[in-house]
Amino acid sequence: MTPAEILDWSIYATFVMVMLSLAIAFIRLAKGPTLADRVVALDMMTILIIAVCGVVAVATGVFAMLDVALVLALVGFLATVALARYAERRDVRQNGDDA
């Protein structure tokens, strides 16, 4: 194998691994069981998308994809925070009088 072929193969393999990870994370997302589990899974998926951007950048040489990754790195956690906060507040509320 030439180095270029190795690279092609690696890109492919990495992509498959990352996508597989996404699928596995999705299983956790679907299974739960707690809200926190789902949030962790979603957070994980966000990070994995950043990885996808990296792979695509290597595969295509288009570095515009890194801009996507940058944005995601900055704001991805906002969803996590919002959902986590929801989980926390929801517990407070559930102890309250209205469900």
């Binding site: 994809m65 996507v68 944005v71 995601l72 704001v75 906002l78 959902l83 989980a87």
Partner: protein
């Protein structure tokens, strides 16, 4: 007398004089025509056409109008709404004049409808009572039905003849009669005429219209408006009459109406109602006569038209006086008032003689002519003459009931302290009654001035007009006249018994008036039921129908208009395409099946991530970034709002096969359409322009951004407006709470 009362009198009087000075010209056989263009592109003109027919009507309208208005000026003096009354009555009169002098059928229709509206307002004048409101609506709807039919008829006439000018159409020999549209035209025109002129079975609104003040009854619902239908039949006579269809339709409807109305008149104890039915009878008679083309019948029609207007208006006004002076119109409570009301009684007697057809009054001549006309009816003279005989005999009876009994009968005690009406109310009946007597003695005056020109207008030839004469010699009409009186007097003496029999019969049989109520109730409940079925108030139903419509429409169109399976080459699908596909699919399924809000939101997040990946893979970084940012914000908003929202209840065990069917159907349809669309080529002209112009002309390397802020900046501007308004609206939504919610 207030200005509100006097001004209409002056208007009507002036117009009468203006029309009267045309008598020599028109009587001489000329016609007048003035044309002003109104809506030339639709062929609508304001064209005035005055011939004998128009002039006769115009004189009746303005002459009787002036007298009735004088009468009402006193009758309604002091009424809070006298001004409105005068306004409506004057408007009506002007509309009615417009109707009879318009040559353009569409202009005629405009005035036709205006008389309907003013009549509606006048019947409902005593709007505080349910009865007045109901009667007004009934009249409006019944004449409205006819009006719409007439409109269709007029349109067909216009299309067939190429013009709406009736004088031109009448001059075109047989243009309507020979066309394939003849039958629909006649049907539609007669629908208009019969409803307006209250022919059986469209008659029932007219007695109810008596809810209007008596001057209105005298004027609109006896002398003028109801004769608009007659006018229409006379006006279109040259173009439409002369066929068996015309003959038989008019004869049968007219005869039935005539007999039915005169019998019903006998049944009434309310004098006004009795008169109303006699009006119906007269309208039937006029219709019957207009079915023919012979000189006798048309002369009879023209004469009877005038006769009836004179005596009937007089009698209505008399009843109004009785009502005003005694407080009742009940035939059973009015006796022997001749001493207290000498002038009224005299006028009533003269008018009644005319109505009953005694010589030497005009009514006699009218009746003789009717018989002559009836005998002249070519095919079934006996049937027609019989009908005329029965109804004329009943007129004798009714005349006795209305004018003899209240004044001269000694079978009961007169109501005390009754005073003669003031002079403005007396002028009308007196003048009208005297005119009836005058024309009876000098029939030639009437013949030359009005009747002959009218006949000429209707059958095109004044030579065919028959002479009006009190003594036409011993002939069949004379014998029939004598038979009429004998029968009439007999019936008068058995009136009470007859009335009881009639009441017994009519209460058992079906009543048109009750039918009306049932119809109205049916419309109300039917439309309610239908609306409740369609506009259920349940969003689910609305959405099922909306989505279902989209599905059916698209599927049917696909099936009938774009058959065939899209020609797909070997799809070029990479592994990551499948992975993205599966990811989005899983996200969608998760959202679909979960009962947990957050899981659903997470599922949507996965779909969003998958979408972003599609955009990343297929070279849309800007879109991918936007998608991710928006997705994040959606999650944030959802997470915040969900705190105050209830849990998702697990899907109830309700069978949702219909929803599933619609959903899957729409999915399949969308896929098929999209597959078909993408197999075709795409025109990249626009994109090529953007690619080549982006940097050299718009100084930007990011073509998407250049499109957004330069090539299609207006879109973007609208879009940020949407975002801003969304913010304003949401702010309002959150802050605008009514007091009850703010606690």
């Amino acid at each position: 007398m207030t200005p509100a009362g006097l001004i209409p009198v002056i208007i009507a009087g002036s117009l009468f004089i203006w029309f009267a000075q045309m008598i020599p010209v028109i009587g001489g056989g000329d016609t007048l025509r003035y044309v002003w263009e109104w809506v030339p592109s639709l062929g609508v003109n304001v064209s005035i056409y005055i011939d004998g027919l128009s002039l006769t009507f115009a004189l009746l309208i303005t002459g009787i109008g002036a007298l009735v208005m004088l009468y009402s000026a006193r009758y309604l003096a002091g009424h809070v709404h006298q001004a409105r009354f005068s306004l409506y009555l004057t408007s009506f009169m002007l509309a009615m004049i417009g109707l009879v002098i318009s040559d353009n059928l569409l202009a005629l229709f405009v005035f036709w409808e205006l008389t309907t509206i003013t009549s509606y307002l006048l019947i409902g004048f005593s709007h505080d009572t349910v009865k007045a409101r109901r009667s007004a609506l009934q009249a409006l709807m019944m004449t409205g039905v006819g009006g719409l039919a007439l409109l269709a008829g007029i349109i067909l006439i216009g299309t067939t003849a190429g013009t709406f000018e009736m004088s031109e159409i009448n001059a075109m020999d047989g243009v309507l009669k020979d066309s394939v549209m003849y039958l629909p035209i006649v049907l539609l025109v007669l629908a208009g005429a019969f409803t307006k002129s209250a022919q059986m079975p469209f008659h029932f609104w007219l007695p109810n219209a008596m809810a209007a003040p008596t001057p209105v009854s005298a004027y609109l619902h006896s002398a003028t408006m109801v004769k608009a239908g007659v006018y229409l039949m006379a006006r279109t006579h040259p173009s439409l009459a002369g066929t068996d269809f015309w003959l038989w339709t008019l004869t049968v409807f007219g005869a039935i109406t005539m007999v039915f109305a005169s019998v019903m008149a006998l049944r009434q104890t309310d004098l006004k109602l009795a008169l109303a039915y006699t009006t119906l009878m007269a309208l039937g008679a006029l219709t019957l006569l207009l079915g023919n083309e012979s000189g006798y019948t048309i002369t009879a029609a023209a004469t009877f038209l005038v006769v009836h207007s004179l005596y009937k208006a007089a009698l209505f006004l008399v009843v109004g006086i009785l009502d005003a002076q005694t407080g009742t119109r009940d035939a059973n409570s009015l006796f022997g008032l001749a001493r207290a009301l000498p002038i009224t009684a005299t006028a009533a007697a003269i008018a009644a003689f005319s109505m009953a057809g005694f010589p030497p009054f005009l009514g006699f001549i009218g009746k003789e002519l009717k018989y002559a006309g009836a005998i002249a009816v070519a095919s079934e003279p006996i049937f027609v003459a019989g009908a005329v005989l029965i109804s004329s005999a009943l007129m004798v009876t009714i005349a006795g009931i209305v004018s003899f009994r209240p004044f001269w009968s000694k079978s009961g005690t007169p109501i005390p302290n009754v005073k003669e009406a003031p002079w403005p109310m007396l002028v009308g009946p007196v003048v009208l009654a005297i005119l009836g007597a005058f024309f009876g003695i000098f029939p030639e005056t009437l013949a030359t001035t009005l009747v002959n020109p009218t006949v000429a207008a209707i059958i095109g030839n004044a030579e065919d007009a028959k002479e009006l004469q009190l003594w036409a010699g011993v002939n069949l009409p004379l014998f029939l006249s004598i038979a009429t009186f004998v029968l009439g007097f007999t019936l008068y003496f058995y009136k009470q018994k007859l009335r009881e029999i009639l009441i017994g019969m009519t209460t058992r049989g079906p009543s048109f008036d009750n039918g009306w109520d049932k119809l109205m109730a049916g419309i109300a409940s039917g439309s309610k039921a239908l609306t409740r079925m369609i506009q259920t108030g349940v969003l689910y139903h609305y959405m099922v129908v909306t989505f279902g419509t989209a599905l059916v429409v698209l599927a049917v169109t696909l099936w009938f208009r774009s058959t065939g399976i899209p020609a797909m080459g070997v799809p070029q699908v990479e592994l990551w395409d499948w992975l993205v596909f599966v990811l989005v699919l899983l996200g969608a399924i998760l959202t679909l099946v979960t009962n947990s809000r957050i899981t659903a939101i997470a599922g949507l997040g996965v779909v969003g991530i998958g979408m972003a990946m599609i955009f990343i893979l297929y070279s849309a970084p800007d879109v991918a970034i936007t998608q991710l940012l928006v997705e994040t914000l959606v999650v944030v908003l959802f997470a915040a709002a969900a705190l105050k929202l209830p849990h998702l209840t697990p899907e109830p065990l309700r069978k949702r096969w219909l929803d599933a069917l619609i959903a899957i159907g729409l999915g399949v349809v969308t896929t098929v359409i999209l597959l078909k669309v993408t197999t075709g080529p795409i025109d990249r002209e626009l994109t090529t322009f953007f690619e080549t112009a982006s940097w050299p002309e718009a100084f930007g390397q990011n073509i998407v951004n250049v499109i957004l802020v330069d090539f299609r900046a207006l879109d973007t501007f609208g879009e940020i407006a949407v975002v801003l308004i969304a913010a304003i609206s949401i702010f309002a939504l959150l802050k605008a709470k009514p007091e009850e919610e703010e606690q």
